[in-house]
C-alpha cells in the first residue's frame, strides 16, 4: 500500500472559459494534490478539440491532462472538486501504474526472448541496422497457387 499510485486525470474545460480560468483550475488541482500529500508529475494541455458529441450543448472543449501520484483519498477529493466546478464539463480519472508495469514487463520479456533466440542462432543479441528487415508474412507464398495436380 505504501508505494504511490499513479493516476491520470483528464478534464475538459468549457470552450467559454478564458485562459486564466483554465490556469485557475490547474492551480486548484495542484494545490489539492499538495495538500493531500501527492505530487504532480506532468501537465499537458491538448488545446481545443472538437468533441465527438455535444456535452451541455458545447461542441468543443479544452482538454488538459495531469499525471499525478498519490492515494485514493486524493483522487476522491479531486473528483468531488471537479464535479463542483462549472467550467469543467467532463473529467476522467484513471489509475495507470499497474498497467504501465504490465506493459513494461511484456516489453522486457519480449526483449529478453529475442536476445536469447538471437544468441542461440549465433548472432549478437541486438539486431544490426544493416541486417535485412524481417519478411512480413504471407505475401511471398503466392507461387504455389497456380499448381495443377
Amino acid at each position: 500500500m505504501s508505494a504511490p499510485r499513479t493516476y491520470e486525470l483528464v478534464y475538459i474545460v468549457s470552450p467559454d472559459a478564458t485562459d486564466e480560468q483554465i490556469a485557475g483550475i490547474h492551480t486548484q488541482v495542484e494545490q489539492t494534490t499538495q495538500k493531500l500529500g501527492g505530487t504532480l508529475v506532468k501537465t499537458d494541455n491538448w488545446g481545443r478539440r472538437k468533441l465527438a458529441y455535444a456535452i451541455q450543448h458545447h461542441k468543443e472543449g479544452t482538454y488538459v491532462l495531469e499525471v499525478l501520484e498519490g492515494g485514493g483519498e486524493l483522487m476522491k477529493e479531486l473528483d468531488r472538486r471537479l464535479k463542483v466546478v462549472d467550467q469543467v464539463i467532463r473529467h476522467l480519472i484513471v489509475r495507470v501504474d499497474e498497467e504501465q508495469r504490465v506493459v513494461q514487463r511484456t516489453q522486457q520479456h519480449r526483449q529478453a526472448t529475442q536476445e536469447r533466440r538471437r544468441v542461440a542462432r549465433g548472432l549478437p543479441p541486438r539486431p544490426d541496422p544493416s541486417e535485412r528487415p524481417k519478411v512480413t508474412d504471407d505475401d511471398g507464398v503466392d507461387g504455389i497457387d497456380g499448381m495443377e495436380v
Binding site: 465527438a52 504471407d138 503466392d142 504455389i144 495436380v149
Partner: protein, 102 residues
C-alpha cells in the same frame, strides 16, 4: 479437376468493408474466395499499451455506426479486444469517440 485447398487468397483486407464482389482467382473452387488469415493487429505490431488517448488507433476499430468492431471481423485476439474495449469506453467518456453515430 482437383484443386489445392490450401491457398493464400487474394489479399482480402481486414475490416470487412469490401464484402463480396471479388471472384476467386482461379475459379472452380467450392467457395469462391479464400479469406486471408486475419491477424491481431496488436500482436503483429507489438502494441502493448492500448491507450484511451490514442484516438487514431482506436478510431480504426470504431466504424461509422460507432459500435466496437467485432473480433470476428477485425481478427483481434481476445486479450487485446478486451483492452481495446476498455480503451474505447474511456475515450467515449471523454468525447474522443462517439457513443452513437450522428
Amino acid at each position: 479437376m482437383a484443386m489445392g485447398s490450401k491457398k493464400s487468397g487474394n489479399g482480402r483486407g481486414r475490416g470487412g468493408s469490401s464484402r463480396g464482389g471479388e471472384r476467386g482467382a482461379q475459379g472452380g473452387q467450392r467457395r469462391s474466395l479464400f479469406r486471408r488469415r486475419k491477424v491481431c493487429k496488436f500482436c503483429a505490431d507489438k502494441i502493448d499499451d492500448i491507450n484511451y488517448k490514442d484516438v487514431k488507433l482506436l478510431a480504426s476499430f470504431v466504424p461509422e455506426r460507432a459500435k466496437v468492431l467485432p473480433r470476428r471481423i477485425s481478427g483481434t485476439c481476445a486479450l487485446h479486444q478486451r483492452k481495446l474495449r476498455l480503451a474505447i469506453t474511456r475515450a467515449r467518456v471523454l468525447a474522443l469517440l462517439p457513443y452513437l453515430a450522428d
